[in-house]
């Protein structure tokens, strides 16, 4: 099962990095409609609670556990000027590194990366979200689509980070 794509040189870390950097740019620029086009129709987005990073969202309380429809609704919400937590919008800047291809099965590539996401709001100190991204990417033609996006925050508690009201 393993690595036919990688073995044939069809998936390289550079390709994955290009994809993740592109995604990060869309999120930081609030191009959320374009970002949604990177998702598969069965995409999920998870942010587990800080004390349960390895849990299942059906058994443990998460911060975010969105299916595709919930992601759609989340984006309608955060783009609405009445989403007070994000209006005025946060400015974010994310740094992605330590990108690894963990495995390839059929057309699914499992990827992990480290991130720092700096969040700025008016009258506020910087909030630094530090953690790891875990993706299941589907190979589609020459590119990729996100089937699962799991964000693990390293902080023991959300604490001064306060909320995850933007797409982390």
């Amino acid at each position: 099962m393993t690595a036919p794509l990688a073995a044939q040189g069809l998936v390289t870390r550079a390709q994955i990095e290009d994809f993740l950097y592109h995604e990060a740019a869309l999120l930081d620029e609030w191009q959320l409609d374009a970002w949604q086009e990177l998702l598969t129709e069965d995409a999920c987005y998870y942010v587990p609670s800080n004390d349960q990073p390895q849990s299942d969202h059906r058994r443990a309380l998460f911060l975010i556990a969105d299916d595709r429809e919930r992601i759609r609704q989340r984006i309608i919400r955060v783009l609405d000027p009445n989403c007070h937590a994000e209006y005025p919008r946060s400015r974010t800047r994310r740094m992605i590194s330590n990108v690894r291809i963990l495995g390839i099965e059929n057309d699914i590539v499992s990827v992990a990366a480290n991130f720092v996401c700096y969040r700025f709001r008016r009258y506020e100190r910087i909030r630094e979200y530090v953690g790891s991204y875990h993706y299941l990417l589907r190979r589609v033609g020459e590119g990729f689509r996100i089937k699962e996006r799991r964000v693990l925050i390293d902080a023991h508690e959300l604490g001064t980070l306060g909320s995850v009201s933007f797409i982390l």
Binding site: D51, R58, L61, A65, Q73, T160, G162
Partner: protein, 426 residues
Amino acid sequence: MSARSYIVDDRERKTFLLDREVLVSEEVLRQEMTRIFGRCWIYVGHSSELKAPGDFRSRRVAGRPMIFCRDQSGAFHCLFNTCRHRGAIVCTQREGNARRFMCIYHGWTYGNDGKLLRVPGDDAYADGFDKAAHGLRRPARFEEYRGFWFVCLDADAAPLAAYLGEAKDYIDLVIDQSPSGQMEIIAGVQEYDVAANWKLMVENSVDDYHLPSTHSTWLNFMANSGVKIEPPKEAGLVLPTRGLAVDLGNGHFTTDNVNFRGRPVAKWIPLYGEAAKQEIDDIRRELVDRLGEERARRVADTNRNLVIFPNLVINDGSSVTVRTFYPQGVDKMHVTAWALGPVEESESARARRLDAFLTFYGPGGFATPDDVEALELVQQGLANWSDDRWSEMSRGMGKEGEQLNSDEHHLRIFWRRWNELMGAQA
């Protein structure tokens, strides 16, 4: 010593004003730590978090490090997490199972009942040194109501059951969701700070006046998900259905609302999916069989946001959340929130409950982040307190009888009790 009053409670002019100094003053916070947090019953944790002998959770309770644990016999304890020798925290793990807690500094070791078991090199102490007198100290009082454990630092306080008073009925209503009468804290805790005075969270937790303006994106989401929330038809209502604010005595209060938004127990909405219909019907049937039609209706068809004075909130709405918070300075609070569910819940019902929780509550929910924003904007605005001194809280004062959830009756209950405990002249 009695302080001046922080409220203007003018029943003739139907006016209630709050002095904003109470939300910004270091001196007030210092007094609160003794007069409020030093005298009231404060929530520690739930029985279900400690399933076996030796289980422990270390946490801050009103800012103080404590160990909530069970000893080898299974008895529950709440211990100050502070070594008797030189004061270090002795339990550094968040949770686990342990027979002993050893201070890493000099090795003093305590049992999970708090007794001092071992002092390295204890032959260096004079004969009078009594190990038995050096167990971990603990809050003066530690009592439970139906799985909810509280501490009180005041040895002379009334028992917990008397303190809770009528609030017990509303805790019972939540617990009645469970066929066996057993609710449990679900794994996964949301811990986050809000840059606002802790008392603003008390207000926000029960203030239904703010829903249309603060949470319009949540109302849109509900509409997009097939739950059309119609504007109220009845004059004077802010919400689509009638809801009351109820005084439960001792500074406790609750909202008591006719549900309009779906409930995992047991009101289906399209958001839950067609597949959930049958199971929700079954849950409802079990409620009616066990509790009778009237009580089942109370459990299933009402939403209640309950405040146990001063800092415990149990919201039985889109899901059940248990939330407590404490001040970390005048303009910052730390919030801890859990989900609560029946122990016998099926896998699918549990998943639905957790999903419903996230539609509204928590740092990534579709409503809570906007509540946090509102409270932080209040705190920022309060920088002008000395020139714009009074907060307005008179809604509903002109009315006889029932007070609505969108009035400010319940907020006034909180502030009157708070003012009284702070030693103000009535």
